[in-house]
Symmetry: C2
Subunit: 326 residues, 2 copies
């Protein structure tokens, strides 16, 4: 829902429509839904097609499901109405590996209708793909890439803590895998994007099911108190296999009581690189920023389906890309 | 000289000409100049125009002077011969602030001849511009950017240590400022590029003359022994002023006996970011890599004068950009 996207203070876009299917949002003013002190004179509707015809937006900022198959028809509707799209759907970020046929159809349709579409976010979209890829620019050779994201879940919203199994027993956690507990979605997008940029043919891609992280001592979170022996959070791991070796390793860890939060990129190559973002980047703020900051780049890109690694470098983009230079 | 560029093991480019004016290289086989165990059957010549006519290269990898005015005529010759150019000339990396007229002329000529030209390197070109700009993509707002490069000069080649004043007295150092001792060249390029990407109008740009770093104890380098009280290296600082405040701060430090080498990006914004490359990136290897890895991106870019912040994200680029995707 576009409500989750904060408009960057550095730009001034005008919202012309608000679309959602959630019953508790339908029919309400968007300003009210966002908790703003004023109305925006935009009523939340569920019919995307009608909204586009009436509002004629330049771009749709899409943030609903993580599954490409689920959002596919909505993206098609955007494209057919001649509207660019920037989306946080994790499987949209790099769809050519897992959803090749869908990606090609979207790409051809976007080209036909003269619009550009992009998937982005803090991850996939930046931390475990765009950033490490960018750093390999300083390398004459790359043998292995490992990215680790270590976050303290006790600081996050309650739905997030539920989603990672906080406070469950190990058996309860196991039952929910693949249902309420998905682990980090989209690691395959990041692996495929890295392989694309480095010219590596992947023999295989392995995404392990989420693994529980068990509390070694009692700990409190905003959500619950986690007793020793219960689930404090989870770990998601995925690998890209090249020449039978794990050439790309992604590890996402989120639990209560993490010693230190950080995002780490480790490249084994010439030279070796060890890059650390101390404290890590906040997921929600980062995703909003990556999305809003991509808007102008998507609108200026040639028609088609774009991926972060084949677009201009990310930046906290000003209102007009060309204002200060030429 | 193209000899300073190591060809990435991940690509296979064919060198078709070698150009230099250095007397000790002229007339020699390039393989011999590079210290390779075999000849390359390329004789180093000084006439660029004749070489281009004969060899008809797709791109020239240019690495001679740091001054845009000095390399200008050579770049013009490349463009007029219909050859793309990737250059390590620091003032070419972002020339629109300090050398606007030259930049515009180069750009128009490049467009007229259907070629692309780019300035890049480890810095300017990546560490103090492209990398921090990329990280601002995760920010909803940026107030201040500070980049620090801390390097141990005792590990570097002897000409480098001489160039930063190692072993001189403070008076000797002061006399050489602006002559043999220039400090870090191109910090203005980085500042201007950051301002461009963030949409900041610079009120002013301040580049301080290089400051000596004085040895607090005796220390040995490959070059010399530095007594206490003598120059161990230098510090270069530059600022971008926006609304009368130092909005962009660059600090390059290189001396013997540095406690810890690193490259650091600190962004004060929403969110705050603190990114550290532990050990820092080696200057020579990094510059070679950035240059070689930019070759295909320059060749695939539309005609004109390009800058790193308006190009595809850097990466350890494969031979063909499109091989693995479509």
């Amino acid at each position: 829902m576009v409500t989750t996207i904060c408009l960057s203070s550095r730009t001034s876009f005008v919202s012309t429509a608000a679309i959602d299917i959630a019953e508790d949002k339908l029919g309400r003013d968007l300003g009210d839904v966002l908790g703003l002190p004023h109305r925006l004179d935009l009523i939340v509707q569920k019919d995307a097609g009608k909204s586009f015809t009436k509002a004629k937006p330049d771009i749709v900022v899409h943030a609903t499901s993580s599954s490409l198959k689920q959002v596919y028809s909505l993206i098609i509707e955007c494209i057919r109405s001649g509207t660019n799209v920037v989306s946080t759907c994790e499987e949209r970020v790099y769809p050519y590996q897992k959803n090749k046929a869908i990606a090609r159809r979207l790409g051809r349709l976007a080209e036909k209708h003269g619009v550009s579409v992009l998937g982005t976010g803090i991850n996939p979209g930046f931390l475990m793909d765009t950033l490490p890829i960018t750093v390999t620019g300083t390398c004459l050779d790359v043998k292995h890439v490992k990215i680790t994201r270590m976050t303290d879940s006790s600081k996050r919203r309650i739905p997030y803590q539920e989603k990672i199994g906080t406070g469950l027993s190990q058996q309860e956690f196991k039952k929910k895998i693949g249902k309420e507990i998905t682990g980090h979605v989209g690691l395959n997008s990041s692996i495929a994007m890295i392989a694309d940029s480095l010219g590596w043919m992947l023999d295989d891609m392995i995404e392990l099911p989420p693994e529980p992280v068990i509390a070694k001592r009692i700990m409190k979170t905003a959500y619950t108190t986690v007793e020793e022996g219960l689930v404090a959070g989870l770990k998601s791991r995925a690998y890209g296999i090249v020449d039978d070796k794990k050439a790309i390793e992604l590890e996402f860890v989120s639990h209560a009581g993490v010693d230190e939060e950080y995002d780490m990129v480790e490249i084994d190559g010439v030279p070796k690189i060890r890059l650390k973002i101390e404290g890590g980047v906040h997921g929600d703020v980062g995703t909003s920023a990556m999305t809003v900051n991509s808007i102008l780049k998507v609108m200026n890109a040639p028609p088609g389906l774009h991926t972060m690694n084949r677009l201009l470098i990310p930046s906290d983009t000003p209102l007009e890309l060309n204002r200060y230079v030429r």
